[in-house]
C-alpha cells in the first residue's frame, strides 16, 4: 500500500488531494500513475507528462523509480513558488 498525494492543478483534475493504492511487487511510479489514471478515469496525460515532477518520501524521483510498501508518492505539477 502506498499513499499518493496530488497538488494544485492535478488535485483539481483528479478531484482528490490524496488516495491510497496497492502496489504489486516491483512497480514504478510511472506504472502506478497509469493504473491510477485508469481507475479514477482521468486521461493518462494528466498524470504522465513531461511537465510533471514526482516525489517519493519527500525526495524528487524519476518516473522509473521503484516503489515499495509504505511509500508516500506525490504528483507535482509545474512548480511556481517564489
Amino acid at each position: 500500500m502506498v499513499r499518493v498525494r496530488f497538488f494544485a492543478s492535478i488535485k483539481e483534475k483528479v478531484g482528490k488531494s490524496e488516495i491510497e493504492a496497492y502496489i504489486s511487487g516491483s512497480e514504478t511510479v510511472g506504472v502506478l500513475m497509469g493504473r491510477i489514471a485508469d481507475e479514477y478515469e482521468v486521461k493518462r496525460e494528466v498524470l504522465i507528462n513531461d511537465t510533471l515532477l514526482y516525489a517519493v518520501n519527500h525526495n524528487h524521483v524519476k518516473s522509473d523509480y521503484l516503489l515499495k510498501d509504505g511509500d508516500e508518492v506525490a504528483v507535482l505539477p509545474p512548480l511556481s513558488g517564489g
Binding site: 498525494r5 497538488f7 494544485a8 492543478s9 483539481e12 511537465t51 515532477l53 516525489a55 519527500h58 524528487h60 506525490a74 507535482l76 505539477p77 509545474p78 512548480l79 511556481s80 513558488g81 517564489g82
Partner: protein
C-alpha cells in the same frame, strides 16, 4: 533554518539578524519577491500559495545546505509565505551573507532560481478575469 509561514516578515530585521550574528560579514545580498499587479496581460488581485507540507520544508533546508556548500558564504536564509497574498505584499525573501560581495550575489541568485525549480510550492493567480494555476517559469 528556512521558514515557510503565513505571516509577513520584516526584511530589515531579517537581514540585520543574519549580519549581526557574524562579524566577518562584509556583504549581504537579498532578493525580495513581491506580488506584481500585472501578469501575463492581466490585472492581478491576489495570489494563493499552496505547498506540499513536509517536502517543501525539507527541500528548503537542503537548498540552504547546498548553497553553503557550493558558495563561499557565511550564512543564508530563505523565508517563503503561504496562503493568500495581495498586490505589493512580500512573497519570498532570500539572504546570503559573505566576506566579499561577489559570492553573495551568486549564492542569492542561485537560491531563488533553484527554489523556483525544486521547491513544491504552487501559485494560483486571481486576476480580474478569472483564476488559474501558474504553470511556467517566467
Amino acid at each position: 533554518m528556512p521558514r515557510l509561514q503565513r505571516e509577513n516578515f520584516d526584511v530589515g530585521k531579517e537581514i540585520c539578524a543574519l549580519t549581526s550574528k557574524n562579524q566577518r560579514t562584509g556583504a549581504a545580498v537579498s532578493f525580495l519577491g513581491v506580488v506584481r499587479d500585472f501578469s501575463r496581460g492581466e490585472d492581478i488581485e491576489k495570489l494563493d500559495f499552496e505547498h506540499y507540507p513536509g517536502m517543501a520544508e525539507k527541500q528548503l533546508e537542503m537548498l540552504e545546505t547546498k548553497a553553503m556548500e557550493k558558495f563561499d558564504i557565511l550564512d543564508c536564509l530563505i523565508i517563503h509565505r503561504t496562503g493568500v497574498i495581495t498586490v505589493n505584499e512580500n512573497i519570498v525573501l532570500i539572504i546570503a551573507i559573505s566576506m566579499h560581495r561577489r559570492v553573495a550575489f551568486r549564492a542569492c541568485e542561485w537560491m531563488i532560481n533553484t527554489l523556483k525549480k525544486n521547491i513544491p510550492i504552487w501559485k494560483k493567480e486571481f486576476s480580474t478575469t478569472g483564476k488559474y494555476w501558474v504553470e511556467d517559469h517566467p
